[in-house]
Every structure is written in structure tokens, then in C-alpha cells.
């Protein structure tokens, strides 16, 4: 499996310019930053963001890098607006194209996959937990890798399926990627769309879509989502050491 990144020099705050903002779902916007200094990172690592008030008060948060590392002078962060948050509402409601935001990174050394690692790989994401997994898939596509990779992705409604079009398009390529979306609260599903939470039969189907047991399974989402998915994968026979988790919030 991927070695941790080589020891990096001190991570310094750099000013990045917001060059574009795109609404992705009713609660998630993508922010595209042009970086002053090139960033070398692995999928998926994250960036720390720092906001400073005029009186010197600081707020910091971490966001997964959504874009593939092939581009090192600009990155995409997909930020979900949390109702009682301090930083995400600021991004959604106030940040505009042209603004300077302080970032530092890349951070993280465990939830990492690079094309050299190969497959098979199982990806399981819930809601905005798909961001790090999308980063891995974009990297895989940019490398023209045929590594066997299956994504199981649970979102509330069709509108909440982040990167839905992109993921469906990757699924049509027949290059070793399989996509299993499921919606938990969609009232008007399109024909053929699976409804309901991720469960053992769905994960079993996903595992069966891989030619062999996965070398690694990346699970990302809220803690409750990750606990449920990881326990089910253990019940299905995956060894604990194969499962890597990234848990958002509580």
C-alpha cells in the first residue's frame, strides 16, 4: 500500500485566490483556488484553511482536496454548508471570486491511494464523504489507470449526489470502474435508481464487482455512516487492516 509521503518541510500558510465558485448540490459548493506556490499532494490529502478577523481572531478548518494532483497550481475544495457552522456558512454566503484565503497543506498520510498502488479497491462514501474518493477517481482517470475500483455512494436525493454526472460518465468507460449509487430520501427516483441505505447486500454486490477481494477499502462520511459501513464490511469478511476510514464531524 502507499507509503506515507516523504517528510515534508514545515507547512507554511499561503494565500490562495478564489478563481471560481460552483454550486454542486443544494448544500455543497466547490471553491477553486489558484495557488501562489505549487502543491504536491497525494489523493487524498486535505488542506487547512484559516480565516482571520480584523481583531486577530482566527478560525481554522480542514477540507479534503477534491481535484486530482496532476494540476499543482490550482485546487478544488468542496465545502458543505453546515447550519450551525462558523466557517462553511462564511464560504457559502460571503466568499466571492477574487478573495484571498489562507491555506496550508497538504495534510494526511493514511487515507491515500495512488495509481501505482493498483487495485482492486473498494470506495464507500456517504454525502460529502465522497469528496476524497472523487479525488482518487479523478487521479485514476488522469493516469488512464485500469485499476479495478468500485464506488458505493449514498446520498439523500438525486440532487445531493455530488459529482453525479462525472461519476456516471466514468462508469460508462468500461475501464475497471464500477459505480453503485443509492439514495436514502428521494421521493421521485429516476427509473433504475436504487433506494435505501447502504446494507450488506449492496456491499456484497459491490465486492462481487471486483475480480478479487480489495487490497484496501476507503470509507468516508459522518461517523455514524462510517461505523455502519465498516462494521458491515467486517461482517462480510474484510480484514480490519484493509479498511481505512475518514470520519467527518461527530
Amino acid at each position: 500500500m502507499s507509503q506515507p509521503p516523504p517528510t515534508a518541510p514545515k507547512l507554511i500558510w499561503q494565500s490562495a485566490i478564489v478563481v471560481a465558485i460552483e454550486s454542486r448540490t443544494p448544500t455543497i459548493k466547490s471553491f477553486f483556488f489558484r495557488l501562489a506556490r505549487p502543491l504536491h499532494f497525494a489523493p487524498e490529502q486535505h488542506m487547512d484553511v484559516r480565516l482571520t478577523a480584523p481583531d486577530g481572531y482566527e478560525a481554522q478548518r480542514s477540507y479534503s482536496i477534491a481535484s486530482a494532483p496532476q494540476r499543482n497550481d490550482s485546487i478544488e475544495l468542496a465545502i458543505e454548508r453546515l447550519e450551525d457552522g462558523e466557517v462553511s456558512p462564511f464560504f457559502h454566503d460571503t466568499v466571492a471570486v477574487g478573495d484571498e484565503i489562507e491555506l496550508r497543506g497538504p495534510i494526511g498520510g493514511h487515507f491515500i491511494w495512488s495509481a501505482d498502488d493498483g487495485g482492486p479497491v473498494l470506495l464507500v462514501g456517504g454525502g460529502s464523504g465522497v469528496v476524497p474518493l472523487a479525488c482518487m477517481l479523478r487521479h485514476r482517470a488522469a493516469c488512464s489507470s485500469n485499476a479495478q475500483m468500485t464506488l458505493v455512494y449514498s446520498a439523500r436525493t438525486a440532487a445531493d449526489l455530488l459529482y453525479g454526472d462525472e461519476l456516471r460518465a466514468l462508469d460508462t468507460r468500461n475501464d475497471g470502474f464500477r459505480f453503485f449509487p443509492t439514495l436514502t430520501r428521494e421521493l421521485n427516483p429516476a427509473p433504475g435508481v436504487r433506494l435505501g441505505r447502504i446494507d450488506a447486500p449492496l456491499l456484497g454486490t459491490a465486492l462481487a464487482s471486483l475480480p478479487a477481494p480489495p487490497k484496501v477499502a476507503f470509507v468516508c462520511g459522518t461517523n455514524a455512516f462510517v461505523e455502519a459501513a465498516a462494521s458491515t464490511l467486517l461482517e462480510l469478511g474484510l480484514p480490519p487492516a484493509v479498511i481505512r476510514t475518514e470520519r467527518y464531524g461527530g
Binding site: 506515507p4 509521503p5 517528510t7 515534508a8 518541510p9 514545515k10 507547512l11 494565500s15 484559516r50 480565516l51 482571520t52 478577523a53 480584523p54 481572531y57 482566527e58 478560525a59 481554522q60 478548518r61 480542514s62 462558523e86 462564511f90 460571503t94 466568499v95 478573495d99 484571498e100 484565503i101 489562507e102 495534510i107 494526511g108 498520510g109 493514511h110 487515507f111 461517523n223 461505523e227 465498516a230 462494521s231 464490511l233 467486517l234 480490519p240 487492516a241 479498511i243 481505512r244 476510514t245 470520519r247 464531524g249 461527530g250
Partner: protein
């Protein structure tokens, strides 16, 4: 550099800014963060071991362990992912009492804590003794849940909380400061929240 349009959330008295290390925000939740699935270790199967280098010194079963002196503490905790939580209540065996029961003076300057899922983290031995750390078995008056590291976790609240190894199964005294799991992956060897020592080089 001030960020255009940012003034911060209403910072009421409950945030107690002097109590919050740099870059942290206050939470009333208790977020769960770990790198893999939650190990399930039954108390009858639980063992805790002290080693000096490769040499085992003493081990305790759960029944032995809970007969040791129990200390109760209330502490603020600070996670490297930026959340802080005030006044968390823990009970457990202080590292000093553990060493006393093993009739061991701190044998080396550095300690590596080991967990049931293969996790490890390094702490200078002086940061564990003198009441600074314990092996905690209850949180908020109840037996420690597996999600938060139960049956037992290391508790070193004056350092970032990744040092408070969940599902702890032993402490190994080492000659050198040996990087643990996150320290090998870019996190700081010491981790003082008041100096904002999050990542190596900070």
C-alpha cells in the same frame, strides 16, 4: 492578513478565549475520529503490558487493573482537527500508580503507546508521570465506550488528543523518541496545542 468579510461567530463568554488554544473551536459534541474500524475488545480478554524495549516487565488483566488506585480528573481536551471540549470527566489509573505497582522507576526518557488495532503514538515519559496522564476506563461517569477507545485508552490531555491512544494495550519505554502512527505520517512528534504543534516542522 484579515479575511475580507470575516468577523467570527459571536464569541460569548462560554467560549472563554483564554482557555482555547490557537486555531481551535469549542464543541459540545464528542467527535469520533480514527483511521480504521473500531476494535471490539472484551474486558475478560483485555491485557495491559509494560515493556522496556522488547522486554516485558509486567502485565495486568482487567480484574487486576481495576484493583489499582483509581484517579478522577476533569480536563479540557484539544483535537488536532481543531475542536476543543472543556471539562471532560475521566477515571482511570495514573501512569505513576501503574509504575509504582510494577515497582518501576521511569526507565527511559520516551514512551511508545500501543493499541489493539496496531495504532501507536509517542510521548516523552516525563509527560506521562506526575499526574499528567492516566489509562482511562470511564468517561463522563460511565464505562468507556468502544467508539471513544474503550475498554481503556491513554489520556494525556495537555497534548493534542491523537496522543491519547484509544484501545491501548501497553506502554513501551524506548531509548529514543520513536515516531508513532500519525507522527510517521506528518504529524508533530510532541504536539503541544498551546504552541500549535500540529504537523512536523510546526
Amino acid at each position: 492578513m484579515a479575511t475580507r468579510g470575516f468577523s467570527g461567530r459571536g464569541r460569548g463568554a462560554e467560549a472563554q478565549p483564554d482557555r482555547l488554544p490557537p486555531g481551535q473551536f469549542l464543541t459540545t459534541d464528542f467527535p469520533v475520529l480514527s483511521a480504521g474500524p473500531t476494535p471490539q475488545v472484551a474486558r475478560p480478554d483485555w491485557r495491559f503490558e509494560l515493556k522496556v524495549g522488547p522486554r516485558p516487565i509486567k502485565s495486568w488483566s482487567w480484574a487486576d487493573f481495576i484493583r489499582l488506585p483509581i484517579t478522577k480528573v476533569t480536563r479540557d481536551i484539544h483535537c488536532v482537527t481543531k475542536w476543543s471540549k472543556y471539562g471532560t470527566g475521566w477515571e482511570g489509573v495514573s501512569i505513576s500508580d501503574l509504575l509504582a505497582d510494577a515497582a518501576l522507576e521511569p526507565p527511559t526518557e520516551y514512551t511508545l503507546a500501543h493499541s489493539y488495532d496496531g495504532y501507536s503514538t509517542n510521548v516523552p515519559t516525563a509527560d506521562l508521570t506526575g499526574g499528567r496522564a492516566m489509562i482511562a476506563i470511564t468517561y463522563d461517569g460511565k464505562p468507556l465506550e468502544s467508539e471513544h477507545g474503550g475498554p481503556a485508552r491513554l489520556l494525556v490531555p495537555h497534548l493534542y488528543f491523537w496522543k491519547s491512544a484509544k484501545w491501548v494495550k501497553g506502554l513501551q519505554f524506548t531509548e529514543r523518541d520513536e515516531a508513532g502512527f500519525w507522527e510517521l505520517r506528518g504529524y508533530h512528534m510532541y504536539g503541544d496545542p498551546w504552541k500549535e504543534q500540529r504537523y512536523s516542522g510546526d
